[in-house]
């Protein structure tokens, strides 16, 4: 599964929203997602990728789910983190 797809699934799990209705272009504001929802998503991402997301992550400006996927991809590549799916 692509990183982007894994981010989408983490978001759906963290906010308990239907995956079918979500795409990388989904804007958070449009679906009523607030800062605590974002924290819940980060929690699922950390679980999914088995890494610690830095404390300032949630301060970045994210308009869409795709923005988050992009930030995760950058973070993973910069820090050379192994994100192979477990099992």
């Amino acid at each position: 599964m692509s990183l982007e797809q894994r981010v989408l699934e983490a978001f759906a799990k963290g906010t308990v929203k239907e995956l079918d209705s979500l795409t990388l272009d989904t804007e958070f504001q449009a679906i009523g997602v607030d800062s605590t929802d974002l924290l819940c998503m980060i929690f699922e991402l950390e679980d999914e990728f088995d890494f610690e997301i830095p404390q300032d992550f949630e301060n970045k400006i994210f308009v869409t789910i795709g923005d988050v996927a992009k930030a995760v991809r950058e973070y993973v590549e910069e820090n050379d983190i192994d994100i192979t799916e477990k099992g």
Binding site: T15, V16, K17, T36, D37, L39, C40, I42, F43, E46, D47
Partner: protein
């Protein structure tokens, strides 16, 4: 002239099921909701409890709200509050919302959330762990559910948490700081950590909860929530509300003695202060819903305290502990137990003390043993005597 406070709505979640009727029918019929929990949790010694029955969270709340914000103890409080508000018939205008306070007691807080985050899954803590577990969470959630803007907070005093919440709400209305309130208690105990903690304290009966009985051997745990709509009397009357009972007094003391054992002097004093506050004579009281936990210590102390305060009238009192019906619900106790007073004053039925086998020569009052009694009740007390010696007694009158 001082303002009077009345109950105009009530709602419950308990080991008997969801809603008032589940609890009231058990009280009328003298039926227990205590059941076997043997084998449900690893390393738990106690075999019986009265965990909440029939609550499927997704039937009541959005999945996302449950996950983010609602520990079971908050879920219980909201479901009970919804029933109470609906029963009251209050129209929730902006003015009404502004003058409504929420005060809810709980002794521990969101224990499920604590267990999930610190015991079951130790790798990382969910970001919403704190808002979910904090003892004030049910208060905020109830306020948010309806839009209440009056003075609101949680109270905590072990098994007297709900009684103190009730007392505080009454004080707000008496003083004019609020016109009405949602008051009560909630507690979630149906989990491994809780059962193991109570096992360790060795106060749980391996037999049954038998308050005041010679063969009593400890408590049986319950959980749930009891919530009430309290209103200033004249306003309630003016809008044609159905008044369930009037709250006429409160008495509160602190034993300042032992962290678990009760002190007869200060337990009696709480009852006395309540009668004074209510301007009642001992002979005016018909029924007492006792704290009656089923421990050797509490039941003897409570009996002696009642004898001290009521003297000759003690033998005329009807006293029952409904804990064998719904379990000891800790911080929700008075919240659940005031149901017996609403029942008594509106249906002339006194709920029994179940599981009573044999008289204790030191506890010889009328405990309405085993069978509910048809009898008119005009004046009643609700006793709560908590660990740590925090006592609260409330007095009620039929209106």
């Amino acid at each position: 002239m001082s303002r009077r406070v009345v109950i105009t709505g009530c709602g419950y979640v308990s080991g008997l099921g969801i809603g008032k009727e589940a609890l009231f029918s058990a009280m009328r019929e003298g039926r227990s909701g205590v059941r076997s929990i043997k084998g449900e949790f690893d390393g738990v010694v106690m075999t019986h409890a009265a965990p909440v029955k029939g609550l499927i969270p997704e039937d009541h709340f959005e999945a996302s709200r449950i996950k983010k914000e609602l520990d079971p103890f908050s879920q219980f409080a909201i479901v009970a509050a919804r029933e109470a508000v609906a029963q009251s018939g209050l129209e929730l205008s902006d003015e009404i919302l502004e003058g409504t306070s929420v005060v809810v007691g709980s002794s521990i807080g969101g224990l499920h959330t604590i267990e999930e985050n610190f015991i079951i899954n130790q790798r990382r803590v969910h970001p919403m762990a704190i808002p979910r577990m904090m003892a004030s969470s049910p208060v905020s959630q109830v306020a948010m559910e309806f839009g209440f803007h009056g003075p609101s907070f949680a109270t905590s005093s072990a098994c007297s948490s709900a009684a103190h919440a009730f007392a505080q709400a009454v004080l707000f209305i008496r003083s004019g700081l609020a016109e009405r309130a949602l008051a009560g208690g909630t507690e979630s105990t149906g989990l491994r950590s809780s059962y193991r903690s109570w096992d360790a304290l060795r106060v749980v009966s391996r037999d049954a909860c038998r308050p005041f009985c010679n063969t009593r051997s400890g408590i049986v745990l319950g959980e749930g929530a009891g919530m009430y709509v309290l209103e200033e009397y004249e306003a309630a009357k003016a809008r044609g509300a159905n008044i369930l009972a009037e709250v006429v007094g409160m008495g509160m003391t602190s034993d300042a003695a032992d962290i678990v054992a009760p002190s007869q002097k200060w337990v009696a004093k709480a009852i006395e202060r309540c009668l004074n506050d209510a301007k009642l004579n001992p002979e005016d009281v018909h029924y007492i819903n006792a704290h009656g936990t089923g421990t050797k210590l509490n039941d003897l102390c409570e009996t002696n305290a009642i004898k001290m305060v009521f003297a000759d009238h003690a033998s005329q009192l009807k006293i029952s502990s409904t804990k064998p019906i719904h379990g000891h619900t800790l911080g929700a106790a008075a919240g659940i137990e005031i149901a017996s007073i609403v029942l008594a004053m509106n249906e002339d039925v006194i709920a029994p003390t179940l599981n009573y086998q044999e008289q204790d020569p030191e506890c010889k009052l009328d405990y309405v043993a085993n069978t509910a009694r048809q009898e008119k009740v005009d004046v009643a007390l609700c006793n709560s005597f908590a660990f740590g010696g925090l006592n609260a007694v409330l007095a009620f009158k039929k209106v």
